[in-house]
């Protein structure tokens, strides 16, 4: 393993956010209570998912400009990391919903949007699986990746705001989480957690890509 500075930063940030996230004081809010600590995990996971999925789309665009097996692998692995983080985000969100709203899943616009995003990327994987020819697969899945991102992802941010009756924080106009993050001790943990999870998503993608590159080399022999 290469110990570059950003990997050290990832480990430090994630360890810090886990330890400090459970130990530092948090504001006492009714209903939410201690479960507010989930903010340090749930929200950064979604941020990291958006960043890594954006990276995947960027790689797909690069692929269409200048096709190469390398860019296809990078885009695919980034999408896979995004799916993992999305599922983690759904799981942590679901837990949080159980203890604050009383149900694992509620028909909230934001939750539905998250589920739709996961379905889209599931479809992306199915699409990849249905090609034999590698170049064809790379090109068509890059096209679907861009199309899906452009058609659906912006809406996942607009729809919850249009609905206007969401339980989920941050749905009215401002993507922030209003009163929850006003507390400065929370920011002290939250920002490092965001950085840590975003870097972690890149790390995960890098490891996956290396494996895929090696596989490619083996296949070429």
């Amino acid at each position: 393993m290469k110990w570059t500075w950003w990997k050290v930063l990832t480990v430090v940030c994630l360890l810090y956010s886990a330890v400090a996230g459970f130990l530092l004081p948090v504001p006492r809010l009714a209903i939410v209570n201690e479960s507010i600590r989930n903010l340090y995990f749930h929200v950064p996971m979604w941020f990291a998912m958006m960043v890594i999925l954006g990276t995947s789309v960027f790689r797909s665009m690069q692929y269409l400009r200048n096709p190469s097996a390398r860019l296809d692998i990078l885009s695919h692995e980034a999408a896979k990391s995004g799916i993992v983080l999305g599922l983690l985000g759904l799981a942590t969100g679901s837990l949080w919903a159980k203890y604050t709203w009383g149900a694992w899943w509620t028909p909230d616009p934001r939750l539905n949007a998250a589920a739709v995003a996961m379905l889209i990327y599931g479809a992306y994987l199915v699409l990849r699986g249905s090609f034999r020819d590698e170049q064809q697969r790379a090109r068509v899945s890059a096209i679907y990746n861009i199309f899906a991102f452009a058609a659906a992802i912006p809406l996942l941010f607009i729809l919850p705001r249009l609905a206007g009756n969401s339980l989920h924080p941050g749905q009215t106009g401002n993507p922030g989480f209003n009163k929850y993050d006003l507390d400065s001790t929370m920011r002290l943990v939250f920002y490092p957690a965001v950085i840590g999870w975003i870097l972690f998503s890149f790390w995960m993608t890098q490891v996956g890509s290396r494996l895929a590159f090696l596989q490619l080399k083996l296949d070429e022999k």
Binding site: V116, A123, V126, Y144, F147
Partner: protein, 233 residues
């Protein structure tokens, strides 16, 4: 990289109208597909009618609304699916040498939009005949229906092109690829059509309608940009 064909001297609009005329002619020659589509809509509406008549009469408005959109969604999927899939690779290569890919996708979207508009209006007509008409704001409802038909066409056209490339089980793949993409659009459509059913003030639906319009244009623009790459294979 752009496709390296000679830039055709014919204007884009001419190409589109020629392709559109070709699609209509093909559809007319293979009337079985068109008839199949109409029968599909007719028989699903009739099945709904029979099921609801068991409990005497028309469904409650929310069920009426949901069923209408489900019928239209599946009809749209069936209608658009055959668009690219019925063309052979040889045919595609032939068009490739003649016209710009942009003309192909725009003509296809336009064709599908017209086809789906017709199907949606006919579906609505049959539906109201059999299952009653609880709509309180008909102009808004129909406008929303037309936006929906155009939206289904723009979203599904590129998806059908993608599914056609994968070959094999194109129709299944199209459902898998298309449905999640259509959920946001469907949510907006169902919301506006509920407002029209209840006869709410039009100001309530305005924002959703504008979002739908913007979404249609966005999806159309992205299809226009991406299709040349899809076509090159």
């Amino acid at each position: 990289m752009r496709p390296e064909t000679e830039p055709p001297s014919v204007p884009l609009l001419r190409e589109i109208s020629t392709l559109l005329a070709k699609d209509f002619r093909l559809e007319w020659r293979q009337r079985a597909a068109l008839g199949g589509l109409l029968l599909y809509v007719g028989s699903t509406v009739f099945v709904c009618f029979l099921s609801f008549s068991l409990r005497g009469g028309t469904p409650p408005p929310p069920a009426w609304n949901a069923l209408l959109w489900v019928i239209l969604l599946f009809a749209a999927l069936n209608a658009v699916a055959k668009g690219f899939m019925q063309e052979s690779p040889g045919q595609r290569l032939y068009y490739y040498t003649l016209v710009r890919p942009q003309a192909v996708i725009l003509a296809k979207i336009l064709y599908n939009a017209l086809l789906l508009t017709a199907v949606a209006l006919l579906g609505l007509f049959l539906y109201t005949v059999f299952l009653g008409n609880p709509i309180q704001d008909a102009p808004l409802f129909v406008a929303n229906l037309l936006l929906g038909a155009v939206g289904f066409a723009t979203t599904l056209t590129l998806v059908s092109g993608i599914a056609a490339k994968a070959g094999g089980n194109g129709a299944t793949l199209m459902a898998i690829l298309g449905f999640p993409l259509m959920v946001p659009m469907l949510l907006l459509l169902i919301k506006v059509s509920k407002n029209a059913l209840d006869g709410l003030d039009r100001g309530v639906s305005q924002q959703s309608l504008l979002t739908l319009l913007a979404l249609n244009m966005l999806v159309g623009a992205v299809s226009y940009l991406l299709f040349p790459f899809l076509w090159r294979g």
